[in-house]
Assembly symmetry: C2
Homo-oligomer: 260 residues x 2
Amino acid sequence: MCELLGMSANVPTDICFSFSGLMQRGGRTGPHCDGWGVAFYEGRGVRCFHDPAPCHSSAIARLIESYPIKSENVICHIRQANVGRVSLANTHPFTRELWGQYWSFAHNGQLEGFVAQPGPFQAVGDTDSEALFCDLLNRLRSQFSQLPEQAALMQAITRACTDYASQGVCNLLLSNGDWLFTLCTSKLAWITRRAPFGAAQLSDLELVVDFGEHTTPNDVVTVIATEPLTSNEQWTLYQQGEWRLWHGGETLASGQLELV
Amino acid sequence: MCELLGMSANVPTDICFSFSGLMQRGGRTGPHCDGWGVAFYEGRGVRCFHDPAPCHSSAIARLIESYPIKSENVICHIRQANVGRVSLANTHPFTRELWGQYWSFAHNGQLEGFVAQPGPFQAVGDTDSEALFCDLLNRLRSQFSQLPEQAALMQAITRACTDYASQGVCNLLLSNGDWLFTLCTSKLAWITRRAPFGAAQLSDLELVVDFGEHTTPNDVVTVIATEPLTSNEQWTLYQQGEWRLWHGGETLASGQLELV
């Protein structure tokens, strides 16, 4: 299994604090040694960092931890390989362009023997996760020639996800830079921080940050992670089958897949 | 105008030395202040770094300069914006997946009023360069349902490039991770380093490296750049309209566009 970390905020916000906690699980407090990656959206652009080396000892991870890249939508993943060997091509998040937007995707779970329906989006590596992502994009593109209304898009995405979830564990983060779609079929948690901001203590590292010193009263920042990253805050656990669409730190839409 | 840097090698090789010279032109010895980016291929995977900040003062650029990422195919670009504002989405190299391979592209030049033919690959930003890249991929995909033989592919690429070159300046680097295609319509130079390796002195910085200390006798490394990066070596200038396909540091194929 892998660890997911996502962020949705209403102002460009750095993820250094949460990332510092997560990267400990990449080989120190957790077994996720098989690479890591992160996608930061800035406007329509996306900035990705990928490293097949363990996160806790990666020079690039140290840069991300210390250099505040500010973003409204972030997807991060640390990997413990099951399907697909350890390589750059198998390192999440995966990114493709669809309808003139960059779509990024990270997955925690396993869909044994997953077969993607053929289409123009093809996997480059050999993970089930990337095959699933390409399958999803092929389905969307065959249904819509351009970005549809949000309700129609969510209906199409959740219908596909119902199908995937019937084939295995499928916790996932998906973004087009505008919103962050999240799905839990086994384990995922979220927390929204807003005024009055307080101090947070990481679970995986002796590190406390007082968000009051780094925010303005209007900031809303939601962090989504496989397991709560802090020890002194109340995280909400997703239900099995629950999906949430985040935008600007708030839930835009949510629902429950009918899992069989 | 922008500056291009490419590398083709027969063993995974870092580009720290050449990059150190190039990044000086990103705001210090050159005016290319409007961002920079680099794509390193490793196997089928590609690792990209993009920064809309000036290269010579970028924390990410300092990482690339000091952290030896080894690759057989590299594309790097520093930008002086003309078409399209300074933003992450407008920062080269651009990457798309085609036929299960990551294709990366960087361009130096300007094609005023360039109109891409419509197709599934769409620009995310608003540069003529990205529009050209998408147009090229759309043409290739409409001609071939999978990666064709190299001769047929080069014929299709050079035919499209003849068309682009008739509309403006079009120096470009293009890679699918297997080879590096290069085209010069105004300015580009190359050098191949092989045994016996000697010392090289950067033009833009007081820095000398003795490649003999970092190589084995079988290494072949070609560097392609808008202008020669070293002051004590003999670079070969491309002719106007000349294209070269590099693989493992050697020219696999080359030719001359018929420019009108």
